[in-house]
């Protein structure tokens, strides 16, 4: 179940040890922007030790590492990959080459540590114009790819436009990224909503990107977790409809019918797939759903 990814500053023990109780589906231990250059070593060591011993209560654990043009990224990988985080989030990802360089280094570390090569997945952060334009080649650059993640703050700086609450300036990037991700058969995550107090604005923003096809959204405040989780969870109506789809299939089977219809509409493969996804998500959230 992936609806929320919550950022936690990598050099802050208090935030990290409480990462598992904030209600987010995934947590991101951040070694990049949240850490000052002279504390990179301390944060790396802290994240390493936390991965070793902190119980994150079933949250998916992602480590955001420093970009390839910094002197830190290899040390970052060396420190965390042996401790088997679910995913690595590389930053300022520009194209397929970037991912291949990174993945080769990950291969080397995994092999050395006896971890099946390719086990550690990638969720690249696309936050430059070139990254957005190369979204599909990035998404298909290595089998490690699990999702693409849009970073609007750096992107709007690169685009030389102003970041607004309405988000018209990132509309193209949002569309491009989710299309590329879906074309590659992987997930898509949206940029955080940065006004911590404005929960209504957050709900509007999250509902909008859900409508575009996004899987979930990153958050920078624990106060945002509940709203984003709610919006990206299947609604009661969606669940009821999905159940009806499967009942219709069973009924058709029982009657030996080839074509299946529900409320006068054909039940075709995409409808079944969507219904299955809805019920899987509902189950993952602990809702009571019959076995399908």
């Amino acid at each position: 179940m992936r609806r929320t990814m919550m950022f936690l500053p990598g050099n802050n023990p208090n935030m990290i040890i409480n990462g598992g109780i904030l209600g987010a589906d995934s947590i991101i231990l951040d070694l990049e922007d949240a850490v000052a250059p002279d504390q990179k070593d301390a944060a790396r060591e802290l994240v390493k030790n936390a991965l070793e011993s902190v119980d994150f209560g079933g949250c998916e654990v992602i480590v955001r590492i420093n970009a390839l043009d910094t002197p830190y990224w290899e040390d970052d990988l060396e420190a965390v990959i042996p401790l088997k985080p679910d995913m690595i989030m590389p930053t300022k990802v520009s194209g397929a080459e970037y991912c291949k360089t990174l993945s080769a280094k990950m291969d080397e570390i995994e092999e050395r540590c006896g971890i099946p090569v390719g086990k550690t997945k990638l969720i690249p952060l696309l936050e430059t114009a070139i990254g957005i334009e190369n979204a599909f080649t990035i998404a298909t650059s290595t089998p490690r790819m699990e999702a693409l993640y849009l970073g609007a703050e750096d992107l709007t700086a690169d685009l030389r436009c102003k970041r607004t609450k309405e988000g018209n300036e990132i509309l193209y990037a949002r569309g491009r990224l989710v299309t590329a991700a879906r074309a590659a058969g992987i997930e898509a995550y949206d940029t955080p909503f940065t006004d911590v107090e404005d929960l209504e604005g957050l709900a509007r923003d999250a509902a909008f990107v859900k409508g575009l096809g996004y899987t979930g959204k990153a958050v920078i405040s624990p106060r945002h977790v509940e709203t984003v989780n709610r919006i990206f969870s299947p609604t009661i109506a969606e669940i009821e409809h999905a159940k009806a789809v499967f009942h219709a299939i069973e009924e058709a089977k029982a009657q030996g019918k080839g074509a299946i219809s529900l409320n006068g509409k054909m039940v075709d493969a995409p409808i079944v797939m969507r219904a299955r996804l809805v019920l899987e998500n509902a189950k993952a959230m602990g809702m009571e759903v019959e076995e399908i």
Binding site: M15, I17, G23, R223
Partner: protein, 468 residues
């Protein structure tokens, strides 16, 4: 007839303060209060000693009191709350007699029943007229409600009003009328406005507190009490205040119209009142400037005395009609006993205030606390001091789940149905131990009792020992 006297020293003299007497103060000026310190300095200068101070609370600004304790000017303190600044001196055994802790409701009850007695009350008044009609609503040192000062005026043998805003007779919108007052003193300042009320009460940003607050609001909702006519009290700190924010979201979403909010009042509660979420605010104390302004301006926001707030021997009190209350804890044990008096080392750092009163009275008492605070155990086998007995606590909400008092099977059912993470107290303690490691046992030196904790009816509840 003139009640005006020239100085505090004169007032002390005229009121007849003598060795061995009990004098009283209220705590509405909180850490900004000058009056307790000014009066005690005069008394010390006059060579009076062996006094008992009966104050509704002792705050960090009263730190100079420690020196009067050490010198023997003060040999006993009776209060409902004492912060570490003076608490340390008491815990280290410097006070001659064991101090006495009551509750905010127990103090006025004890005075009314004659179980405790005040010889001379010194009452800080943000505005008074020369005959002693006084109020806290206006003046440069305005603090809003003077809820805890009423009983000092009603029950003390002599009453001295100390003000820095003397207005012409008669002051019409008074809290306490002149018939209770013996002397009035005008001084330059009764307090430092910065320390009296916060300009605003800010919501916590601590993610753990927010998580706990959110879960607590869900528990209140699941209890079935959150409907039209809902009455509510919450503290001003951390997770308690944040819980009000989450309760507010639920009330707004469902259009619930509550009855009243009670207790120490913050701007947050005022906002809820102004949004129509509550019909009234019953205010025994204001925590911030917005609450003070609202008490002046909003018709449904009114001042109540500490008797009306929570006295157990009053014919009824606002607390006795309360639906839900959210309270904090320094420690809570597997029997649901709560400690808000002492820290983990055994030092006096607080007191019940209204904790014990509203916990007993409310239909639902929710304690919000993390299982540990920066490795300091909060959920423990046995609390160091029993401030509020476990029988009056219904629910503990932590970041890892909710423990329900086994006496409340109805709540366990409701919470389970609402899919809330119900855990046993033992399970929460195990989670804490797994996170932090098993804490070493603390040895308490039981040689010397430094404080007696009384329950709401002045009966012994627990004792606090000296720290080595």
């Amino acid at each position: 007839m003139s009640k005006l006297v020239g100085s505090i020293a004169e007032a002390v003299q005229f009121a007849g303060v003598k060795d061995g007497m009990t004098i009283s103060f209220h705590h509405h000026l909180r850490s900004g209060d000058f009056v307790l310190n000014m009066v005690m300095d005069e008394i010390a200068k006059m060579g009076i000693k062996d006094l008992t101070i009966n104050a509704s609370s002792i705050h960090p600004g009263h730190a100079p009191l420690a020196k009067h304790v050490k010198s023997g000017v003060v040999t006993c303190v009776e209060t409902n709350y004492m912060s570490i600044e003076v608490g340390q001196a008491v815990s280290e055994g410097y006070m001659k007699k064991p101090m006495i802790f009551r509750t905010h409701g127990g103090r006025p009850s004890s005075l009314a029943e004659g179980k405790s007695h005040i010889d001379v009350a010194f009452i800080a008044a943000p505005t008074s007229d020369p005959m002693g009609n006084f109020t806290g609503k206006i003046g440069k040192s305005a603090c809003g409600s003077l809820g805890y000062a009423f009983e000092d005026a009603y029950y003390a043998d002599k009453v001295v009003v100390i003000t820095d805003n003397l207005v012409p007779y008669p002051l019409t919108d008074f809290s306490v009328p002149e018939n209770y007052v013996d002397y009035v003193v005008e001084v330059d300042a009764i307090g430092d406005p910065q320390g009296i009320v916060a300009s605003t009460t800010k919501m916590t940003k601590d993610p753990v507190s927010l998580r706990i607050a959110e879960l607590a609001a869900k528990a209140i909702d699941a209890s079935g009490l959150l409907k039209d006519g809902f009455s509510f009290q919450t503290g001003a700190g951390g997770a308690s205040l944040a819980c009000a924010a989450y309760v507010r979201d639920i009330m707004k979403e469902r259009g619930i119209k509550g009855s009243y909010a009670l207790g120490g009042i913050t701007g947050y509660i005022v906002d809820m009142y102004r949004e129509g979420l509550f019909e009234a605010i019953q205010d025994v104390q204001c925590f911030d400037l917005k609450a003070v302004e609202s008490l002046r301006d909003d018709p449904g926001h009114f001042e109540i005395s500490s008797t009306q707030y929570a006295s157990p021997t009053a014919k009824s009190s606002a607390a006795s009609s309360l639906d839900a209350v959210v309270l904090g804890a320094t420690q809570i044990d597997t029997e649901f006993n709560v400690n808000v008096h002492t820290d983990s080392r055994g030092y006096i750092i607080g007191g019940s205030g209204g904790h014990t009163d509203v916990a007993e009275e409310a239909k639902l008492t929710v304690i919000v606390a993390p299982v540990s605070r920066a490795r300091m155990p909060v959920v423990v086998d046995k609390v160091l001091t029993v401030s509020t007995p476990g029988k009056d606590v219904d629910v503990l909400v932590t970041q890892y789940g909710i423990a329900v008092n086994p006496a409340r099977q109805d709540l366990i059912e409701r919470f389970t149905q609402a899919k809330l993470p119900v855990k046993t107290m033992q399970e929460l303690k195990e989670i804490a131990d797994k996170l932090n490691g098993v804490p070493a046992e603390i040895k308490v030196n039981k040689n010397k009792i430094v404080a007696e904790v009384l329950d709401r009816l002045d009966q012994p509840l627990d004792v606090i020992y000296a720290v080595e």
